[in-house]
Amino acid sequence: MKLKNLAACASFLAICATGVAHAQVKLSGKPKIAFIFFGTTNDGGWADAQNAARLSLMKAYDQRIPFVENVPEVTEKVEQAIDLFINHGDNIIIAGSYGYSDAFTAEAKAHPNSAFINIAGISSAPNLESFYAKTYQGWYLAGMAAGYATKTKTLGMIEAFPIPNVLWDVNSFALGAEAANPGTVVKVAYINAWSDPVKEAQISAAMIGQGADVIATDMDTDAALLVAEKAGKYSVGYQVNMAKSVPNGILTSVIFHWGKKLVPMVKEMASGTWKSSGTPLYGMKSGVVVDAPFEHIPAADISKIEAVKAKMIAGTFSPWMGPIVDQSGKVEAATGTRISQDDLWNMDYLVANVKGSMK
């Protein structure tokens, strides 16, 4: 509740303060875009997927889009990177990191005639939108695929931090696996970094040792999957289609197409009709998050997954429909109810068939 509500209140107050007439952002000139990346553009994951959006924006708007890589989640460094671009005449700043949220709030306030987008951030302002994808939709279907593939009924999932928008990935993956193959458990471990290939590989090996025969990574690299491939196990990739790295064991990858949202957004910005939607989630319907083609499972299972996907896109199915019970046995959503988006942003539990703790 608190986190999301705070953000909502803050943006509401900010809109009130500036008056409704200013709700639409007036750019300082023609749209000039710049990108800030947390990792390197060839990291094969998070930054790679965002760089793909940068390239499609370059094509769509016929401009060279400058970027900086490897900007850590340090407010001072992020602000310096933003200042650098604004000073250069850029007026649309796009980045993607949860830990950039404070810096983006400060800079959005300081530069009202620029537009700011922080993918996976949690702060918003009249000229700052922090959108994210309904990754749980992709993970639910990937969980189904993993459930159909597993022989040991044990899946392993490598996570970054126990924060809400990561926990919903684990939970939806586990719910999908349970739906496809009742009794399947998901072992979870946190790396406590967005990217740490050495640790990811070690934990992957440990999970395989404990009987997991599908390894899913929710990290910025494919390190965990390479270990699984070598051990002859199945993998689920993330962010970009990781089939190239692990062709023999890949089941699918939950992938981002940020450009699907960013390209039309910039068009609105150019025409002066864009306004921040706060911290929205965009789903499979918009194409921002999708599953790569399912592989290595029987065609009959794939068609079952596709059927659920169609219902998801139509809005008649959600992974968050009850009954959902957490590890302690507490009912988070009763039969016939559904976990709301606000409650998703405050998720602080793991569902019953996840093995692992919140730490």
Binding site: E76, K77, N87, G99
Partner: protein
Amino acid sequence: MWRYKPLVSPRLVVTRRLALLTLFGGIGTGLVLCTLFLLTQGMGLSDLASQFIGYTFGNPEGLDETLTRAISLMLVGLSVTLCLRVKFWNIGVEGQIWAGAMAATAVVLYHIGPAALRLETMFLAAMLGGGLWCGVCAAARLYLRANEVITTLLMNYVGAMLAQQLLYGAWRNPRDSFPVSQSFPHGARLALLGFGHVHAGIFIALGAAAFCFWLCTYSRVGSMAHAIAANPLAARAVGVPVARVVLLMACLGGALSGLAGFSIVAGEEYKLTQFVGNDYIFPSIVIAYLARANPLGVVVAAIGIAALYTAGDSLKAFFELPGATVLTIEATLLFCVSCFEFFLRYRLSFVKRGRMETP
């Protein structure tokens, strides 16, 4: 055969003019080499001038970034300098930054001391933390003969690991379980000076430089340090309390790095993050070396190196040069300056063959 052969002989007296000549000769040669290097990377001379001089000093945003960055760089440069004055190699400024930053954060989180004196308490706690971190290594050298290059270096890891332990444990942000401390309240933040991100820490850094200059040049401790650096055995023989002076200088040096940690958390980040102590060791040594361990020189060198980083950010963004470019430039400068020190210590002369060989 050559008629002349080179002869290297140690210098007994070094004139001030020669010292300056070798210093500027080293820096000048380094700059020429760096210019050539950047020209091979596809930059033009006019680009270089606009990036390195125009942007870093001539532009308010650039100057803001340079000065803000220079604050912590000055403090760590002074830290290495004070230790060098007694031939104590402090390779551990990052550990001392961590210690200072953690001590200052602890004051905020546990409400230590009167609320009205929060910043002052943080200031003292940070000095104490950094001083202890370096003092332990000095004591180990004096009483256990442990080489300080090794101990100070290893204490960096202890500092970083301890910070991680706290950020993933007791100090983890309760709002979203992200591994950063809670944001500092306004009473625990250094005031901004109305010029971009430049904060009151700049007065701390300049004050520290003035104090160090007085300490090294005019105080009794400074003279004793001079004697110790020249010859510790002789110094002890004439009654200089070697151990106490080394310990004092090392603790003061550590305290200065601790203050750098304080200025980062209280002036820039307003919280403890996993990144506050990163990437300071190399620049701290370069700065102390370029300044020839002169506290006032440190101010100039720190601003110079800060400008290099500012320009480096811009090079990364607009010329797509890798982040390693700045490191290469720093290393080239350091290398040239230390090579030129050869001429400071030794006289190179050419003598006619024959005359000396056949007596």
